[in-house]
């Protein structure tokens, strides 16, 4: 007779390893039309169906880019390689991009891992914390000579995803409400995408190289002057005023503080 720990450890192993001759079969009452291994099979089917349903919901574009058997195969292999570590199913599935990058059947679709990473960023943005718009009156009151020393915080529901493939275009043409030419030119160059929730809606926008440097430097807590210098290296024609206007008014940058406050 197994202890509770032995029983649970073996049950979990038998489910995931698809072991039909597991010790478990000896611990289960036979009869009523189902053999012990078939009863374990009912649970195995429930568990894997749950995980597939979660991945389908989080990764609709990946699903649209492959066929059903491919997605099912990827989902089941993912479950075995990246076990769920949380009792909250909303935490499950975040490493699908990394998994696909190393999964041989996905090798012919080199853009697939980055599309998956983009979709996970969308999922993250959907659930992340709220942040009110930056207080423009307070910002306007900051003296001109102090501005370069300011630090800015990015919205907690924002992430940047970079890819050598046109993942934003691929994502857009695979949305359910998209009308028009669905083709995407894989040689068109890569996309750097800001994924951000504005209000309740998750939005995706393409970032220019200078804009990327600016936002990444600010996210790393550099001052505005330092971030501006980095952005100018990427794009000497960068219009800082215009970029700040957009990212403050549209809520990418949600808070600021003075240099001294950071070191205080």
């Amino acid at each position: 007779m197994p202890s509770l720990l032995e029983l649970q450890t073996e049950f979990a192993r038998a489910l995931v390893a698809r072991d039909e001759r597991s010790l478990m079969t000896e611990w289960i009452v036979a009869g009523r039309g189902l053999a012990p291994d078939e009863r374990i099979g009912v649970y195995r089917n429930n568990v894997f169906s749950n995980y597939r349903a979660v991945l389908r919901e989080v990764y609709p574009v990946v699903l649209a880019l492959v066929d059903e058997p491919f997605f099912k195969g990827a989902a089941d292999a993912y479950v075995s390689t990246y076990p769920s570590r949380s009792g909250n199913l909303n935490d499950f599935g975040g490493e699908l991009g990394d998994f696909l990058a190393g999964w041989p059947p996905a090798r012919q679709l080199p853009y697939l891992p980055d599309v998956a990473r983009l979709e996970w960023a969308v999922e993250h943005a959907f659930h992340a914390a709220e942040a009110p718009l930056l207080d423009l009156t307070t910002l306007a009151a900051v003296a001109q000579e102090v501005l370069p020393g300011l630090h800015f915080a990015l919205h907690p529901a924002s992430r940047i995803v970079r890819s050598p493939y046109p993942i934003l275009r691929i994502w857009q043409v695979n949305q359910p409400d998209f009308n028009g030419d669905r083709s995407a030119n894989l040689d068109a160059g890569g996309d750097t995408v800001l994924v951000i929730r504005r209000g309740a809606t998750v939005e995706l926008e393409r970032l220019s190289p200078g804009e990327l440097e600016l936002l990444q430097a600010l996210a790393a807590d550099l001052t505005l002057a330092q971030a501006h210098a980095r952005a100018l290296e990427a794009d000497p024609a960068l219009d800082l005023t215009e970029l700040l206007r957009h990212h403050v008014l549209d809520g990418t940058l949600v808070a600021f503080h003075h240099d001294k406050e950071a070191t205080a």
Binding site: A12, V29, P83, N88, F126, A129, E130, A200
Partner: protein, 286 residues
């Protein structure tokens, strides 16, 4: 929200009426049409995120209805250590929404370093009983409130079980001081799957401990009944529900529908059937 409104809301108990499991596709319509339903229940984990659409909807709906939080992921019967982060997320959620009821399942869900995210069956042994009661006690201590514990559907029985499921459920409540969320559909599913009389089960339930009843639909297309919450409540389960209400007395009753989710009207019609049975029981008692 004003302090007065918050204090008002704090007092919102889940009434002895029929409620529905609130699912994402119905939120907009619930807010717009405010149907006459007693209360709503959500899966706690779906609101463990910090913000966004789910919370915006739930804040609005909570302003109109009493709320019950129903957990599916704590794994009270798991031998893996109790997940304190999970418990703290639940604690935060309780603080945010002040639910009338908080419930979890009599099952396990994680082992060997992985979660299976399913409601897995315990062997009904003294060892399992002691273990799960200790964990419920721990969770109730952290949360500072009584939990309702729900009986689950199962598709297998362990040969070394020594306690009938109904006695196990009653004993968990007695030892841990937890209340019972009685899922009448799960009693029926297990009665068919394992060959016992569902009335034997009902007779063993300590009626004073039952604070909530669940109803849902099962899938009967395979070799055993599967608790999918994807179909209407079966006729046999309605019969058993009448029997349960006659024994236990009228009790907050929830209709759950989680897969192949129908139009809100269909779900509300199921709930109004439950409301009708509750009203009949009230009339008999009066």
């Amino acid at each position: 929200m004003s302090d007065a409104a918050r204090a008002d809301r704090k007092a919102t108990r889940v009434p002895i009426r029929a409620g529905i499991g609130l699912r994402a596709p119905h939120c907009r319509e619930m807010i717009a049409s405010r149907p006459d339903i007693g209360w709503v229940e959500v899966h706690s984990e779906n609101y463990f995120g910090d913000g966004g659409q789910p919370h915006r909807f739930l804040e609005r709906i909570r302003a109109d209805y009493p709320l019950s939080l129903h957990g599916v992921g704590l794994g009270l019967g798991s031998t893996a250590p109790l997940d304190l982060d999970h418990l703290r997320s639940l604690e935060r959620l309780i603080g945010r929404y002040e639910p009338g009821l908080v419930s979890e399942h009599l099952c396990w869900s994680a082992a060997g370093g992985r979660h299976l995210n399913d409601l897995l069956p315990l062997p009904y042994t003294e060892e399992a009983l002691a273990h799960v009661c200790g964990r419920i006690d721990e969770a109730q201590q952290v949360l500072g409130r009584q939990l309702l514990i729900e009986n689950v559907s199962s598709y297998l029985q362990f040969r070394h079980s020594t306690i009938p499921e109904w006695e196990f459920l009653a004993e968990v409540s007695r030892r841990s001081g937890s209340a019972i969320l009685l899922d009448v559909n799960n009693i029926y599913v297990n009665a068919v799957n394992h060959g016992f009389d569902p009335l034997t089960y009902l007779e063993a339930v300590p009626t004073a401990a039952v604070r909530e009843i669940h109803l849902g639909g099962f899938d009967a297309s395979g070799a055993c009944l599967i608790d999918t919450h994807g179909t209407p409540v079966a006729a046999e389960v309605w019969t058993l529900y009448r029997e349960a209400v006659a024994r236990i007395g009228p009790c907050p009753t929830l209709v759950e529908w989680d897969t192949d989710i129908p139009a809100l009207d269909v779900l509300l019609a199921e709930a109004s059937k439950a409301a009708g049975i509750l009203a009949e029981a009230d009339a008999v008692a009066a």
